[in-house]
């Protein structure tokens, strides 16, 4: 399972960021969400969601001994993994990175997205 992104449809509402941090951490904190919206709000008005692509081969874990299947289910990751990700798929805030754990099967961001920018792909 992964979350498919259609940037052209993203309305830039930030609801995904809000529910991500809220459901994982009990706080509304877009900086500490596994999904983030990059806005070009002064020029093209395009919004681009960034989040983990759920790669089969996890470059982000290169050099680590952790079990990938177990790591996939974790929300808080190290910043080193964010640096290794070739797709800019992790959000970094302070000393931590935030990784999409797919809400363990029920992604809240997909649920809250009304523009069709985020859909579930199995």
């Amino acid at each position: 399972m992964r979350i498919k992104v259609d940037a052209n449809k993203c309305s830039g509402c930030h609801l995904c960021e809000m529910v991500c941090s809220l459901s994982h951490l009990g706080i509304i904190h877009p900086e500490r969400s596994a999904i983030r919206i990059q806005k070009d709000d002064l020029q093209t008005s395009l919004n681009t969601p960034w989040l983990c692509k759920q790669c089969k081969i996890m470059k982000c874990l290169d050099g680590e001994k952790d079990v990938p299947a177990r790591e996939r289910k974790k929300f808080i990751w190290s910043t080193q993994r964010a640096e290794r990700c070739p797709f800019n798929g992790l959000n970094v805030f302070g000393e931590q990175a935030y990784h999409c754990d797919l809400c363990l099967g029920n992604p809240q961001c997909v649920k809250v997205c009304t523009s069709g920018a985020l859909t579930l792909s199995t």
Binding site: N8, S11, C13, L15, L42, S115
Partner: protein
């Protein structure tokens, strides 16, 4: 927690900041946003307060739930208005309000005047004064871009003025993003008078939630219901231009300064479908599921390369039909120009329409105006926009707004359709009596956003209306019966939604199924832990509206100013579906008295002592 967000008292003369917490009692009584702004403004508001003086406070106020999961995330900007000379207040969408809350503040009270151009930088509880000399003369969009560049942070949100605010155009607006505006009542001129070019905010504090699990569950269930309403579905597809079609078909559109109220079949050129070729997607304000805003791009023709956001119905009317201008591409371009200069599209259109009617009737000629002000003259409209923003030529006169009456000579005032020195908008209210009353009683002068009961156009069963409004209300748009009550109800309701940071479109406005007090109370409880009953929320609405009223009373305004332009009473709509509609003075007076009675005001529109006491506004007596 949003309840821990602070008020910052910022003095630009002294470059000093004092931060204070918001007492829980103040939250309970005035909520936040517009409500607390009014509380703060009322402390210094007087008849002699000069709107462009350092003493006039420019108050930014995020709603109580702005930045959280709710029904909008908006901010009000409030001061004494240089446009009307009375109460000023404007509500703005976009991301700025939520960012301010994330940065630790709900309210900013800016007083004084900086010696040199300055902008404020607010980051996680810190406030800094920064040199804005290099930003002077820049438009609103370029100002935002430069500030982000200077600070090396593309996530910074900026509210800025353009050239119009710098030049103290009385109807200058404050902008964030490409088109979000605190448009009405000239808040941009107040900002300009303080030498304050912009306020930049960046917040990463996070907002703790009282009961996260139930809050999220409740929000998702209410959001689902909201998204199932036909209104929000249509809004998400067509945006506010869908309302243009409605007002044209019904005959309550402003055409050529309200000499007519429909353009009939010619309206196809400006309807929502006509915008589709230019639309490249739909956008949202922070935290909004409805995405009602168009993103557009013009790829060929005169305005090739233009791209941006909008236009909204209010601008389509104000810079379109009101000026006899039916060229959609021209309107899109003109709206963008206003957004960049920082000019309120509604007021700008209204003053140009006034000048055009004066031109039509021979009060003005081209020698005075510099450009031919024939209806629909696109090039002349653009030229005037440039001149107004820079206070040049005839634009210098128009930049004074309704204060230009003296300069334009005796008799000219009859053709400016204004209420409390503030011009009416993109609509004509002779057909809908509730709309008309709401314009007359609005506390910021002619304004549809203070109360417009859009439900009135739906012709809902009267038992449904009775249930909503708590008393009998006619379901006929042109009937006066019960409309005093209908307007009263929305005046209180809108004061509450503006104080919570919610949007008209996501609450009861055009759908009876949209969220109302019950949902608000539940969300407040789950988000903040604050117990506020439906009754307390309604009373807060009364308190806020009556306090606004008391500021007008201090000016010496009362019933005689709660009126409509002469044209509404004396000239029946000449043709179209609303043909013959006019406002009957006696029936209007009855609506007005019903409205006053429900507010607890006397027949002269002055709040009674008992009302003030009940609302805890005794010191206003």
């Amino acid at each position: 927690m949003v309840l821990s967000r602070k008020i910052a008292l910022i003095n630009l003369t002294k470059e000093s900041v004092r931060v204070s917490s918001i007492p829980l009692d103040l939250r309970r009584t005035f909520l936040g946003g517009r409500g607390i702004n009014m509380y703060l403004l009322s402390k210094v508001y007087s008849k002699t307060l000069d709107p462009l003086s350092p003493q006039n406070p420019l108050i930014f106020g995020a709603g109580l739930l702005t930045g959280t999961l709710g029904f909008g995330s908006r901010i009000n900007i409030t001061a004494k208005s240089p446009e009307s000379g009375y109460l000023g207040d404007s509500n703005m969408g976009g991301d700025f309000g939520a960012e301010l809350v994330q940065a630790g503040f709900s309210h900013l009270v800016v007083t004084g005047k900086s010696q040199k151009p300055v902008y404020l930088l607010i980051r996680d509880n810190e406030i800094e004064f920064r040199d804005a000399r290099s930003l002077m003369g820049l438009d609103t969009v370029e100002t935002q871009r430069r500030i982000r560049e200077e600070l090396g942070d593309e996530k910074i949100k900026v509210a800025s003025i353009g050239q119009a605010g710098e030049n103290l155009v009385r109807f200058a607006s404050i902008h964030t993003g490409m088109k979000n505006a605190a448009g009405r009542t000239g808040m941009g001129a107040v900002m300009g008078s303080k030498n304050l070019k912009a306020v930049a905010v960046r917040g990463t504090l996070g907002i703790t939630i009282s009961d996260p699990k139930h809050y999220l569950r409740y929000y998702l269930s209410e959001k689902k219901k909201l998204m199932e309403t036909k209104w929000v579905q249509a809004l998400g597809k067509y945006g506010t231009p869908i309302l243009f079609q409605y007002s044209n078909t019904m005959g309550f559109l402003s055409v050529r300064n309200n000499q007519w109220t429909t353009i009939g079949d010619q309206g196809y050129a400006l309807e929502a479908e006509a915008l589709e070729p230019y639309t490249t997607g739909m956008l949202s304000c922070f935290g909004c599921p409805a995405h009602c805003r168009h993103r557009y791009s013009i790829t060929e023709g005169r305005y090739k390369g233009a791209r941006g956001e909008g236009p909204e119905y209010a601008s389509l009317g104000s810079l379109g039909t009101k000026l006899g201008n039916l060229d959609l591409e021209h309107i899109i371009y003109a709206v963008d120009l206003c957004n960049r200069y920082g000019l309120d599209t509604i007021s700008t259109g209204s003053y140009i329409a006034w000048a055009m009617e004066l031109y039509q009737r021979g009060f003005l000629d081209q020698e005075q105006t510099g450009v031919p002000l024939h209806w629909g003259e696109g090039e002349a409209i653009l030229e005037l926009l440039h001149h107004i923003a820079h206070r040049k030529g005839f634009g210098k006169i128009l930049s004074e707004g309704s204060f230009a009456k003296k300069q334009l000579g005796k008799g000219s005032e009859a053709y400016l359709l204004d209420i409390k020195n503030f011009p009416i908008e993109m609509t004509d209210e002779r057909l809908s009596k509730s709309f008309a009353l709401g314009m007359a009683t609005s506390t910021r002068g002619a304004c549809h956003m203070r109360s417009r009961p859009s439900l009135d156009v739906l012709g809902l069963p009267e038992e449904v209306l009775k249930k909503i409004y708590g008393g009998p209300v006619s379901n006929q748009l042109s009937s006066y019966a019960g409309k005093g009550r209908m307007v009263w109800w929305h005046e209180l309701f809108n004061a509450v939604t503006d104080s919570l940071g919610f949007c008209r479109f996501l609450t009861i406005f055009s759908s009876p199924h949209a969220p109302s007090y019950r949902q608000f109370a539940r969300l407040i409880k789950l988000a903040t832990g604050l117990n506020l009953s439906v009754k307390e929320l309604k009373t807060a609405g009364e308190r806020i509206y009556t306090l606004e009223r008391m500021m007008l009373i201090r000016e010496g305004l009362s019933r005689k100013e709660d009126t409509l332009p002469k044209r509404y009473f004396d000239e029946p709509v000449p043709e179209g579906p609303a043909q013959g509609e006019v406002i009957l003075r006696e029936a209007f007076d009855q609506m007005l008295e019903e409205n006053y009675r429900l507010h607890g005001w006397n027949k002269n529109g002055v709040p009674k002592k008992g009302t003030l006491r009940r609302l805890g506004l005794d010191n206003e007596d």
